[in-house]
């Protein structure tokens, strides 16, 4: 199954009731499959007139209390930043999938990881961060959507799923779980009609700075709680490693092969793969660094996640970087060449 199609099945299994989107390559299979499958599952598909409208439709459906999502690719996600900031400020859950392509500007439709800063650091205005999940396989394109909806509802926040063109377009075997379709938890705050209760208001306007500070602190406290409870990563062969590769998504797939090449050559190399980019698994990396490990961060960008790795390591171990940009996917041989220079 293709990654973009797996994502649709995962979303429907997660109880997604509304999808709003606008065509952009390389994620067009998502709205196409959604238009076929979501109405059959009792949900709503609507092709919006723009990404701006799509994210605001998600905002409305989320305010009404249902599980809602959109998907796009880099330039479209830039247009959605206004709505994501409003969702963060209004404490609305929702899922935004970015099948990242090469940038900046119109860029190209090849795989890239150059939207890491935008996703992880909060691409819209204001003092907020969004949880970010990074699949690395078609299976995870399916599975992480459910986690994304659960985290969104649990912490009342928009959640970004950061994929890329390779993950969206490649085909892999996949197991569809037989869990029952998830249901949205009760949302007493939802604006779904004040029937037998006082009115509810969904809003991000707080004129009094002291009041807005309290709201921002409340939202930040939830992110901190998520940092304690939701942070996820996968460590492979790091126990004896002299050098640990750090990579996510397609970068981690390339790095995995490079690690195998290194191991075959007798080099002790491991792989650390963040699954949540936000919250970032900094403590686990810090622990590896305290054992004297060196790191090589591999990205499909000029180096964005590497900054978070360096912050986590705090100078306790050397952190090198290798990346290709503009939609160029580094080859395992290129990464292996870097490894040989470092070990």
């Amino acid at each position: 199954m293709k990654g973009n199609e797996a994502l649709v099945h995962g979303a429907i299994a997660a109880g997604c009731k509304c999808y709003f989107g606008y065509p952009i390559t390389p994620q067009n299979e998502v709205p196409e499959y959604m238009s076929q499958l979501l109405p059959k599952a009792g949900g709503v598909f609507l092709q919006a007139e723009s990404e701006l409208a799509a994210i605001n439709m998600v905002y409305g459906a989320a305010a009404a209390g249902v599980r809602a999502m959109t998907s796009s690719s880099s330039p479209g996600i830039s247009l959605m930043q206004e709505g994501i900031s409003y969702m963060a400020g209004a404490e609305l859950p929702g899922v935004i999938v970015n099948v990242v392509r090469g940038g900046s500007g119109l860029g190209n439709i090849a795989a890239a990881q150059s939207d890491y800063f935008q996703a992880v650091k909060g691409g819209g205005h204001g003092d907020y961060r969004t949880p970010v999940l990074a699949p690395w396989s078609v299976q995870e394109m399916h599975d992480l959507i459910r986690d994304a909806f659960d985290i969104a509802d649990r912490y009342r926040t928009p959640v970004v799923v950061l994929a890329d063109a390779v993950l969206g377009q490649m085909m892999e075997p996949m197991t569809v779980d037989d869990h029952p379709i998830a249901t949205s938890p009760a949302k007493p705050w939802a604006t779904n009609g004040a029937h037998g209760r006082p009115k509810n208001i969904i809003n991000s306007l707080y004129i009094d700075p002291e009041e807005l500070e309290q709201v921002n602190l409340r939202i930040d406290a939830r992110f901190r709680e998520a940092t304690e409870r939701e942070v996820r990563w996968e460590a492979s062969s790091t126990e004896d490693a002299d050098l640990v590769l750090v990579a996510y998504g397609t970068g981690a797939r390339v790095s995995w092969t490079a690690m195998e090449m290194a191991r075959a050559a007798g080099l002790r190399v491991g792989l650390f793969r963040p699954i949540t980019l936000g919250p970032f698994p900094a403590p686990a990396l810090a622990e590896l660094a305290s054992r004297g490990r060196g790191f090589l961060v591999v990205e499909l960008s000029l180096g964005q996640m590497v900054e978070d790795v360096r912050l986590a390591v705090e100078g306790r171990a050397p952190v090198a970087f290798f990346g290709r940009t503009g939609g160029v996917v580094p080859t395992p041989a290129e990464v292996f060449a870097q490894i040989k220079e470092l070990v």
């Binding site: 007139e49 439709m57 459906a61 009404a64 809602a68 409003y86 604006t191 004040a194 809003n203």
Partner: protein, 250 residues
């Protein structure tokens, strides 16, 4: 004694108690009241979701006594679409000013109308950006002075004002489009009739409707309230004729 008295007039249940923070002579208060009265009369308060705009009516959620969502500038029709699609049984309306609806939100309003989205739109046109201090709006009249058209709106530089009802009337989607005003009791009654038609249109599942209400902004027009009413009638109505532009609701 109270047992012998009959209540003949009361504030609408859909209107919250307490003062509104609009300027003296501003017609938002009248329009809020009409919206609340019609919602009460249709008996839909408990399934109403209002969408408030960015602009002077941003605090509408304080003044109405039903669920309200505050939307980003111009995006109210998209937010309303999300609510209505998620909850088809709800009554959803947007309350938008001219900057919100006719400048930054033109894409959203045109496409909601073209889709025949099952929502109602209350469009308050006062020909100026009120909240931000009196800048030119898309509906500012030619020659009208604002803080960003200090010599009066000049067509060659600032373009022409937008007639929203006439524009939307070219589409097949809308079921009801009307322009009214609230400068006199007679006009207020007609405005309420238009709102009632619009809201009934949605309740009956008959599609998209919009009521444009020509409104005053005495503070930004630098006029006394009574003079603002006269200015509206003299200058706005000739450019924005009143009446029904589309009426396809039964």
């Amino acid at each position: 004694m109270s047992e012998s008295l009959t209540e003949v007039f009361a504030p609408p249940e859909s209107l919250a108690a307490g003062p509104m923070r609009y300027c003296p002579g501003c017609t938002h208060g009248i329009i809020h009241r009409l919206v609340a009265e019609v919602i009460d009369e249709l008996g839909v308060r408990e399934r109403t979701v209002g969408i408030s705009p960015v602009g002077c009516a941003v605090f509408a959620y304080d003044y109405f006594e039903f669920d309200v969502i505050e939307a980003a500038h111009g995006r109210a029709p998209a937010v309303a679409t999300g609510v209505k699609r998620a909850l088809p049984g709800s009554f959803v309306f947007t309350y938008q000013g001219d900057g919100d609806l006719a400048a930054i939100g033109t894409g959203e309003i045109v496409h909601a109308a073209a889709r025949g989205e099952q929502i109602s739109v209350v469009f308050v046109n006062n020909a100026i950006f009120g909240m931000t201090g009196g800048q030119m709006a898309p509906t500012t009249l030619v020659g009208q002075e604002t803080t960003t058209t200090p010599g009066g709106r000049n067509v060659r530089e600032a373009g022409n004002p937008l007639r929203v009802c006439e524009l939307l009337a070219t589409l097949d989607g809308p079921s009801y489009l009307a322009r009214v005003t609230v400068t006199s009791p007679a006009h207020v009654r007609k405005a309420k009739q238009a709102l009632r038609k619009s809201f009934e249109c949605q309740v009956k599942g008959q599609g998209f409707s919009l009521v444009e209400i020509l409104s005053t902004c005495p503070s930004r027009w630098h006029l006394l309230p009574i003079d603002a009413m006269a200015w509206l009638e003299k200058n706005m109505i000739p450019h924005y004729p009143l009446g029904e532009f589309v009426s396809r609701c039964e």
